[in-house]
Symmetry: C2
């Protein structure tokens, strides 16, 4: 049971937890609902996650971190040369716009029902679970670090790249929330536009004054 089948059950439970957190938050997600949603056998939850909901939540946050990390990396690679090096074929602002376009698509596909699981777990559990808060801090760091490295590869000095990458992640997080509340991808589009100004300072003349209506 700890073999392939066990690993698949464990992954399915984490997957369901992730999706339900995105929809209803952490406190609003009951473990029975997770088991039902996953289709896993009833006893499997405490077999795979003997520490219960907190451990499952941590796994879901890690899964979200990895998934969004891949999305960002793929967008950066697609924009680079075939070898994946930091070519000049797309600017950092264009890469961010591609990531935001994907997020906007996910949001509309879900009828604005899915938010970022890392944000909501931070806000609900940051004061109550060091383990979950830590998982969320690591998730944010797993996005900020590579974005900073990418900006360094595109010529930003390191401290500036780190600060800018942190701002990029904050802006995207916030824009997902405002978009979800307003049931509109407009806040995400505003974020993409502002980040293009911030990241592509050279191309700023056009972007900075362009109307978004």
């Amino acid at each position: 049971m700890t073999g392939t089948k066990g690993a698949m059950t464990s992954a399915r439970l984490a997957e369901s937890m992730l999706e339900l957190i995105q929809r209803n938050g952490y406190s609003g997600t009951g473990l029975n609902t997770v088991v039902e949603h996953s289709g896993a056998p009833k006893g499997s939850l405490y077999f795979h996650f003997p520490q219960g909901k907190e451990a499952l939540g941590e796994k879901a946050v890690e899964l979200a971190a990895a998934r969004f990390g891949s999305l960002v990396a793929d967008s950066a690679l697609e924009s680079g040369s075939a070898s994946g090096s930091a070519s000049a074929s797309a600017t950092p602002g264009e890469v961010v716009r591609r990531v935001i376009d994907t997020l906007a698509g996910m949001l509309t596909d879900s009828d604005f029902q899915l938010g970022c699981p890392v944000s909501v777990v931070t806000l609900e559990m940051g004061a109550r679970s060091e383990r979950l808060r830590d998982a969320c801090a690591n998730a944010f760091e797993s996005w900020i670090g590579p974005v900073a490295e990418y900006l360094v590869a595109h010529g930003r000095p390191r401290p500036d790249a780190r600060a800018t990458a942190t701002a990029v992640v904050s802006m995207v997080e916030g824009a997902v929330i405002v978009s979800r509340a307003q049931r509109s991808t407009e806040p995400l589009r505003c974020a993409a536009r502002a980040l293009a100004v911030l990241l592509d300072e050279g191309d700023k003349g056009d972007e900075g004054t362009e109307a978004s209506a």
Copy 2:
């Protein structure tokens, strides 16, 4: 009981709901805890909020909207002339930095235990309560609108001002969350710095390349 005393009880309940949502989210806040926290008599909750938790949550979101709106307005006024007009004594980027400094102080004062109630209610309840989602959308709009007007008063064309204001609100929301997860005001400082670049394009030369370490 619907007089001054009743209004005070109602306000106290909404105040407690707001503080508890900021700490533990909406689903994680039980109504008994709200009544206890407020010190209000047990029966008062359903007297003042006969529609229950959703109505109380809506009131808390409205309270949060008004309070943060005042904070932003005060920061803008302090930066203006004595008459409160949009004077040139502080740039929009400096005003935003003042707001963010205040938020950073609130976050450290609470030992990073308080987040934005509007974000967390959006993420937890957006899929389950149109009434709460709508309250959150209105809260965000109540911040975006005045910031846009402020930017128009400082010379931005209207569509650009609106888009920029939306990005400002998103950035601040996201930075509060990342700061809370990382137990550090650094993400808020990165947001202030990025928004200064975005808002004070003329002063950009210095700000844009300044290290934040």
